[in-house]
C-alpha cells in the first residue's frame, strides 16, 4: 500500500530524513516511532503530498505521491499533527465541506458524515463551532475527517496526543477496529499503544530507520530483555554491590524507601537471575518483600535504539 524508496528530505541542507526504505502492506497497522525531531512528521507529510522529497520516491496504492499526487491523495486519509481546523466552522458544516472536497458523491455526503460522527463520538458537538471545542474533540474531528471518503490508507500523525486516558483508550479501540478494513500508518510517543495496536513498528532516529519489525521480534532482539526488581531490607550491607556480583546482572539502580531499598536490576537477555538473587538474600539474611521479573517493553527497545549511551 505504501512503498518508500531511498527517501531523503533536506531542509536548507540539513537532512531531516535520509535514505528511508520501507513498505507497508495491505491491512497492516504500522507504528512509526521516534524521538521528537526524528523525521516522523516529515515522512508523513511527504507521503501526504504536502511537500516533495529532496530525492527518492514514495508511492501510495501504486501512485507516486509527487508525479500522480491527485490519485495518491484520493486513496489517503491524512490527519496532520495538531489537527489544524477552521475555527469559524461548525462540526457538521466542516465535515460536509471536507466530504465535497474529497469527492464523496453528493447523495452519499449526509450518510458518510453521519457515519463518521457516530464512529468518532461527535454527535453531541455536531452543531458547535470548532473553535470552541476541546483538544480531544478537535482530535476526533480530524480523525473523522480522515475517514470521510473511506480511504484505503490512513496516515495519522500522533492521533492520541493531548487526549485523556479514557479518550486514548477509545481512540486506540477505534484504530484497532479501523485496521480491519484500512491500512494504517500512525506515529506516536505512547509506546504501550503501539504494542497493543500495531502489527509492525518502524523506529526512526535522526532521520534513519533503526529498526523495522513486529513488536515481538523487536523485544527479542534487544540486548537486555527486561530485568528484576528486588525490594529488601539489607541492613548494613551494600546491596547494590552484592547484587552486581551475580553473573548476568549488568547494572543495579537503587531507590531508597525508609530502611527498605528497592533495587532495579538490568539483566542480560535470556538470563533469569531470580534464583541467584533469592539465594543471596537468604545467605545475607535480607528481609525480602518483593522479587519480580519485569518483562521488556517497547520502551526499552526505543530507549536502547535511540539512546544507546543510557543502556
Amino acid at each position: 500500500m505504501i512503498k518508500v524508496e531511498n527517501l531523503t528530505k533536506r531542509y536548507a541542507g540539513q537532512p531531516a530524513i535520509q535514505d528511508l526504505n520501507f513498505e507497508v502492506g495491505q491491512g497492516e497497522i504500522m507504528g512509526f516511532l521516534g524521538p521528537n525531531g526524528a523525521g516522523k512528521t516529515t515522512t508523513m507529510r511527504i507521503l501526504a503530498s504536502f511537500m516533495p522529497p529532496t530525492s527518492g520516491r514514495a508511492s501510495i496504492a501504486g501512485f507516486d505521491v509527487f508525479e500522480q499526487s491527485l490519485q495518491a491523495r484520493a486513496h489517503l486519509g491524512y490527519m496532520p499533527e495538531n489537527v489544524p481546523l477552521y475555527s469559524d466552522m461548525r462540526v457538521t458544516e466542516y465535515l460536509n465541506y471536507r466530504a465535497a472536497l474529497k469527492g464523496v458523491q453528493h447523495r452519499r455526503v449526509a450518510e458518510r458524515v453521519g457515519d463518521v460522527k457516530e464512529l468518532c463520538g461527535l454527535k453531541e458537538v455536531e452543531k458547535k463551532l470548532i473553535g470552541t471545542l476541546s483538544k480531544g474533540y478537535r482530535q476526533r474531528v480530524g480523525l473523522a475527517d480522515a475517514l470521510l471518503h473511506e480511504p484505503d490508507l490512513l496516515i495519522l500523525d500522533e492521533p492520541t496526543i493531548g487526549l485523556d486516558p479514557n479518550q486514548i483508550r477509545q481512540v486506540r479501540e477505534l484504530i484497532k477496529n479501523l485496521g480491519r478494513q484500512h491500512t494504517i500508518l500512525l506515529s506516536t510517543h505512547i509506546l504501550p499503544e503501539v504494542e497493543m495496536t500495531c502489527s509492525r513498528v518502524i523506529i526512526i532516529h535522526k532521520g534513519r530507520i533503526e529498526a523495522c519489525d513486529t513488536p515481538e521480534n523487536l523485544l527479542g532482539k534487544i540486548r537486555q530483555a527486561g530485568g528484576v526488581v528486588l525490594e529488601a531490607r539489607v541492613g548494613n550491607d551494600n546491596g547494590a554491590e552484592e547484587l552486581k556480583k551475580i553473573s548476568g546482572v549488568r547494572d543495579v539502580i537503587t531507590d531508597r524507601e525508609d530502611d527498605w531499598k528497592r533495587f532495579s536490576l538490568r539483566v542480560e537477555s535470556g538470563v533469569d537471575v531470580r534464583e541467584e538473587v533469592f539465594r543471596l538474600a537468604t545467605d545475607r539474611h535480607w528481609a525480602v518483600r518483593e522479587l519480580t521479573q519485569r518483562r521488556a517493553t517497547l520502551e526499552d527497545v526505543f530507549v536502547e535504539l535511540t539512546h544507546p549511551d543510557v543502556v
Binding site: 507529510r45 504536502f50 516533495p52 489517503l76 495538531n82 489544524p84 469527492g103 475527517d145
Partner: protein
C-alpha cells in the same frame, strides 16, 4: 467544478464570519456616503460641468477608501491558512492548486462586489429626491461599475500574490498596500512631473487608474484599459500560482 464551488462558498462564508469584513463594510459605507454627500452639496453651491455620478467616482475621498480596502480584504487569504496550518489539510485532499487559488481570488472579488452594491442606493435616492438622474445615461453607470470591477480584479490579484508570499497577515497587508498605492501614484506622475518627456508621460498615462475611471465614468468604454487590467490580473494570478507551488519545489 463541484470542488471549486465548495471552496468558493467556503471563502465567501469565511468573510461573513470574520469581524474584519464587517469593519471594512462599515468603514467603506461611511466614507463613500460622506463622499456622495459632499459631492452633491458641492454641486448645490455652484455651477459644475459634470454629473453627480462622475463626481462621486472621481473624488479624492473615493480613491482614498478605494486603495485601502484591498489590503484589508485580501491579507488573510493565504497568510491565515499558512499561519493556522490549515493549508496542510487543504492541500492533502485531491484538489488542484489552481482551484484553491481561483476560489480565493473569486471569493475576495465577490466580497468586493458586495461592498459596492449599497452604493447603487445612493443614485436611487438621488433620483427619488431630485427627480433627476445622477448621470447622463445608463452607459455612465455601466462604465463606472465596469471600471470598478476591472480595477477590483487587478488589485485583488495583487493582494492574492502578497498574501501567498507570507504567513503574516500584517506583512501581506503592508506590501499590497504599498504596491497598490505605488501603482496608483504612477498614474499621477503625468500630472505632477511636468519636466519628464511627453512620451514617458503618455506611457505612464496608460496605467493611470484615475484617467481610466474618468473615461469610463463618462460612459466611454475604452478597450485598452480592459485588456490591461484583465491581462495584468492573469499575470498576478499566474505569479500567485507559481509562488503557491514553490512549496513543491525540490530543494
Amino acid at each position: 467544478m463541484r470542488k471549486f464551488y465548495t471552496l468558493l462558498s467556503r471563502e465567501v462564508r469565511s468573510y461573513l464570519h470574520s469581524p474584519i469584513a464587517y469593519i471594512v463594510l462599515v468603514f467603506f459605507l461611511i466614507v463613500s456616503g460622506i463622499d456622495f454627500y459632499f459631492q452633491v452639496s458641492f454641486m448645490n453651491q455652484r455651477q459644475v460641468q459634470y454629473t453627480a455620478q462622475e463626481a462621486f467616482f472621481n473624488s479624492v475621498f473615493f480613491w482614498f477608501a478605494f486603495v485601502l480596502i484591498f489590503p484589508l480584504i485580501t491579507m488573510r487569504l493565504f497568510a491565515e491558512e499558512f499561519k493556522l496550518g490549515t493549508i496542510e489539510p487543504l492541500t492533502t485532499v485531491p484538489v488542484r492548486d489552481w482551484q484553491v487559488i481561483l476560489s480565493k481570488f473569486f471569493g475576495a472579488l465577490i466580497f468586493y462586489i458586495i461592498l459596492w452594491i449599497p452604493t447603487l442606493l445612493y443614485f436611487a435616492v438621488f433620483l427619488k429626491i431630485t427627480h433627476q438622474p445622477a448621470a447622463h445615461s445608463a452607459g455612465a453607470y455601466c462604465g463606472s461599475y465596469l471600471m470598478l470591477l476591472l480595477l477590483g480584479m487587478f488589485y485583488v490579484s495583487i493582494g492574492c500574490l502578497t498574501s501567498v508570499l507570507t504567513s503574516n497577515q500584517i506583512i501581506a497587508a503592508v506590501i499590497s498596500f504599498c504596491a497598490i498605492t505605488l501603482l496608483f501614484f504612477l498614474g499621477l506622475v503625468q500630472f505632477i512631473l511636468l519636466d519628464v518627456s511627453s512620451a514617458t508621460r503618455d506611457l505612464l498615462g496608460y496605467f493611470s487608474a484615475i484617467e481610466h475611471m474618468g473615461t469610463f465614468s463618462r460612459g466611454v468604454i475604452d478597450t485598452r484599459p480592459i485588456v490591461l487590467y484583465v491581462s495584468m490580473t492573469i499575470v498576478m494570478l499566474t505569479l500567485t500560482y507559481q509562488a503557491f507551488q514553490s512549496r513543491k519545489w525540490r530543494l
